[in-house]
Symmetry: C2
């Protein structure tokens, strides 16, 4: 092993990005058992979240909101449609855009999902203070990354 530290910057323990990547995966894993009961995945959950709020949206707008492209969203939305939570149809105004609309069953899912945020909060071991700080830093980081 080296002692002079020429390669210290390539040690996993000195990386900032790795904890970010690892924590994100671990947190998503915590959602799994909760979302299994609703019959959806984490990615489907955040997609439903924006649809619960807006009722009806284009694939493009959904993608910009949840940071996913059509390569991920097209199959995901087809799955949500198969499960009966959304309907997909071309916009009459512009045949290029596909409008995704929440169904009645999709809105019922929202009520069943009400307990999820609380359950997650109670199993993510983060002090109230750190949670606020983390939220602030990540918000700033995301907008700075988008601005680049």
């Amino acid at each position: 092993m080296e002692t002079d530290g020429r390669y210290d910057c390539l040690k996993l323990e000195n990386q900032l990005c790795f904890p970010l990547y690892a924590c994100a995966k671990e947190v998503v894993r915590r959602y799994r058992p909760l979302l299994d009961e609703l019959g959806i995945t984490y990615t489907q959950y955040i997609t439903m979240m924006v649809l619960w709020e807006h009722r009806s949206m284009s694939v493009k707008d959904i993608g910009e909101t949840v940071c996913l492209d059509s390569g991920t969203l097209t199959p995901l939305l087809k799955k949500l449609e198969e499960k009966g939570f959304v309907e997909r149809g071309r916009s009459p105004d512009d045949e290029r855009v596909l409008t995704v609309t929440v169904t009645e069953k999709g809105m019922e899912l929202r009520d069943r999902a009400l307990s999820v945020p609380g359950a997650i909060a109670s199993c993510i071991p983060l002090s109230a203070e750190d949670a606020v700080t983390l939220a602030r830093i990540l918000r700033d980081l995301k907008s700075a990354l988008n601005a680049q």
Copy 2:
């Protein structure tokens, strides 16, 4: 749209986990052009990082270090072997364990990777202060999650 806020906890903007998930993806994306020149992906990069440090490790130990299971690592290590960066072979002591060892070419890759951390640091828009705080919070979070 609701005004009473019964569903506020299900709004994307009120989530802490989503920025974590989105920032992690965005940061990994920043690595892509840099790692493309080395011919590896981000996951392959963090795997090489632990191998550069330890030279030789079992799949299990690699997995615990980089938080990946054999389902992800087995195909990934085969790709690294095809590229000539590692060698895979069963341990003589215990035929169950597969020992992964960095090759000479793998060690040469390390020198070519030396510029990556600096390049990433300069394109991740985070103040020195926030970087330290973020690292601390994520480190605490990860160890608390592991302890559960």
